[in-house]
Amino acid sequence: MNFNPKHILGIQELSAEELTFILDTAESFKEINTRKIKKVPTLRGKTIVNLFFEASTRTRTSFEVAGKRLSADTINISASSSSVVKGETLQDTAQNIEAMHPDIIVVRHGASGACHYLAERLNCSVINAGDGTHEHPSQALLDALTIRQHKGQIAGLTVAIVGDITHSRVVRSNIYCLSKLGAKVRIAGPGTMLPPGLDRLGCEVYRNIEDAIRDADCVMMLRIQRERQGASLIPSVREYARYFGLNEKKLTLAKKDAIVMHPGPINRGVELASSVADGPQNVILDQVENGVAVRMALLYLVAGGEKLQQD
């Protein structure tokens, strides 16, 4: 199979074969990250711009490391989200950056659809590093890679995702990715954080964490944003932790060898008890490690993949 997409905008547009191909490619890059000299010349001469309109440490660093390990020139731009207030439109910002001829722009933006918007208007490749509450494809891919690493395969597994589903781009990408790869996805959260029509995305919806994680192979906890407290979605972080947080006792409902995942950053004592976050079942740092490999794979494939070597 050869798969060299122009853009990576979302998991929704990708087939199971393409997803597997990306994961296999990422797998092959993992080894580079453990070498003494962690650099290959694959993307030498390519310019990658990390254009982040929202604060991000993990994802931005991960993309930056991925680009550098492939010898690309990576530039980070933290476009203040106030650029709209200042009067510069997304179109203008993007055109200014494109005038410098990057090969790939990695975009994080607060508006759903912003990456699609840019992809329609720019000549270079666009990789979605999270758009609003829509998609976060590289996160779903690194999650899938981590599950595959620990469980051997994804097909046939039951994955429970718990948290603020409404405001999560991670969850949408994960529902598409995991269900396409053959897993059963369960979703749980308080009623205020479950948007209508979720089941149509390809998952089962639960109102309580216990039912969702019972006999699950994998439990993925989402970060609860503290600012949602008081915004009428949850009465308090304390109550949220009590009913939707994952502690050791609740975790016993899942399969004995279930893994616990979290896209980070963790709110200890809120969605994850520290004992679970630090417990033997957590694979959170594997997720971070796999993130670099997945992003190397995405950059490589978008830049041309095997064709690169032929040039």
Partner: protein
């Protein structure tokens, strides 16, 4: 000055006419309708093969003048209307300044008279500055030419203010037009709440945001006995609320837009900002309900909510794009589509865009009665044409039908017997 419109199929729903007739116009007034009228010294317009209807009436447009002339002005907006076969529009007061004073009303009317192509009937604001605090001087505004009152674009949030507005408007026998939207339920929603919004990661607006205020305002109309007109109904519940209220004898009328009976929220996919409007495009179930409301007479008028916006205001992230689309030049084919799809009879479709909105606003237009002003539209219901935004008369190009082929258009538009549009 005599004009003879010859051999057309005349449809005048107000007078239950649907037959091949000649129409004689003398000095801008309809003088005679008859199967055969001798031309004599009259100028002849051959309408063979065409429908001849009263000039269309669009009771809900935004001409953006004064204040937002970069989107549209009275000249371009009325030109777009004429091209769409529309001879009378009611323009909403959310201009800058707001049409809450005689000065603004007079400005609109005189500019329309001097430079416009068609009749413009201003809607005054319910409250001064559309702030929801003090009633506008409705008596004087009516005398100056306003035909209804609305804070369109915004609801009248305060229930008592809406009650007083209805009571006061009743004094002067003018309708209050409700923009029904409970803002606290809209929150920061940007499209219809439902599976599509969930999938796209866009904040949804629930149907109850529209219906809560529709219900409140209908009850207030019942309480006050004043005429309430509900603008752009878009949900099954809103249609049902109006239907039940009419059965109870509440003085309520309502309108629906072509986009709410033609498009669903699926049109938003791809983050298409020309599918962003308020009320938002709804699900198929709601579209079906609006169509049923048009079919059974619950909905009294089709109005476009013509809302021009500059390209820069639409060429942005979906969440921050302006609401609304232009509609004057696509009103006719989209309305006729309901005839083709057997939702409406031709006569009823024409009534919804002529005599019925005219009646709601109390304007003496929308019929071909002898003695009426000769505002007439000649329609080719079968002509297919492709919507090319660059070729439309409106100053703005924000239409979701760009590139699509539509069927039916105005071939000639007459205003008081004078040709204001002709299609080659």
């Amino acid at each position: 000055m005599k004009i003879l419109v010859k051999s057309g199929r005349v449809i005048d729903p107000a007078n239950y006419i649907d037959e091949k007739l000649d129409i004689l116009i003398v000095d801008g007034i309809i003088a005679e309708l008859s199967p055969h009228i001798d031309a004599g010294d009259a100028e002849v317009i051959n309408a063979a093969g065409l429908l001849v209807t009263p000039g269309l009436v669009d009771m809900h447009v935004h001409l953006r003048d004064p204040g937002f002339e970069y989107k549209e002005d009275i000249v371009t907006g009325t030109r777009a209307a004429a091209a769409g076969g529309v001879t009378s529009v009611a323009c909403m007061p959310n201009t800058d300044p707001v049409n809450d004073s005689l000065a603004v009303t007079k400005y609109i009317i005189s500019k329309a008279r001097e430079q416009g192509s068609i009749n413009v009937f201003p809607i005054g604001s319910i409250t001064k500055g559309m702030k929801g605090e003090i009633l506008s001087e409705m008596g004087e505004l009516k005398e100056g030419g306003c035909v209804g009152f609305s804070d369109d674009g915004l609801p009248v949030k305060n229930g008592e203010m809406m009650r007083r507005a209805l009571e006061y408007a009743g004094t002067f026998d003018v309708p209050i037009i409700s923009h029904a939207e409970e803002l606290s339920l809209v929150a920061d929603g940007v499209m219809n709440e439902g599976p599509v919004a969930t999938e796209l990661g866009l904040k949804g607006i629930p149907w109850v945001a529209e219906e809560a205020i529709t219900a409140r305002d209908i009850m207030l109309a019942e309480l006050t006995g004043s005429h309430l007109h509900v603008a752009h109904v878009s949900t099954r519940g809103s249609v049902e609320l109006v239907r039940l209220a009419k059965k109870r004898g509440v003085p309520v009328t309502c309108e629906a837009t072509p986009h709410h009976f033609m498009l669903t929220d699926e049109a938003v996919r791809g983050y298409n900002t020309n599918a962003k409007m308020n009320p938002p495009l709804r699900s198929q179930e709601n579209v079906d309900a609006v169509r049923a409301g048009l079919a059974d007479g619950t909905i009294d008028a089709i109005a476009t909510d013509h809302a021009p916006h500059h390209h820069d205001e639409k060429n942005v992230e979906f969440a921050i794009a302006m609401n609304g689309i232009i509609g004057l030049e696509t009103l006719l084919p989209l309305t006729l589509k309901l005839v083709g799809e057997k939702v409406l009879t031709l006569s009823r479709a024409i009534a919804l865009i002529t005599c019925q909105p005219a009646k709601i606003l109390g304007i003496d237009r929308g019929t071909l009665s002898v003695g009426a002003v000769a505002d007439i539209t000649l329609i080719n219901p079968n002509k297919e044409w492709t919507v090319d935004p660059a070729k439309l008369q409106s100053k703005s190009q924000n239409t979701p039908w760009a590139g699509q082929q539509l069927k039916g258009c105005a071939m000639k538009t007459l205003l008081a017997g004078k040709e204001v549009y002709s299609r080659s």
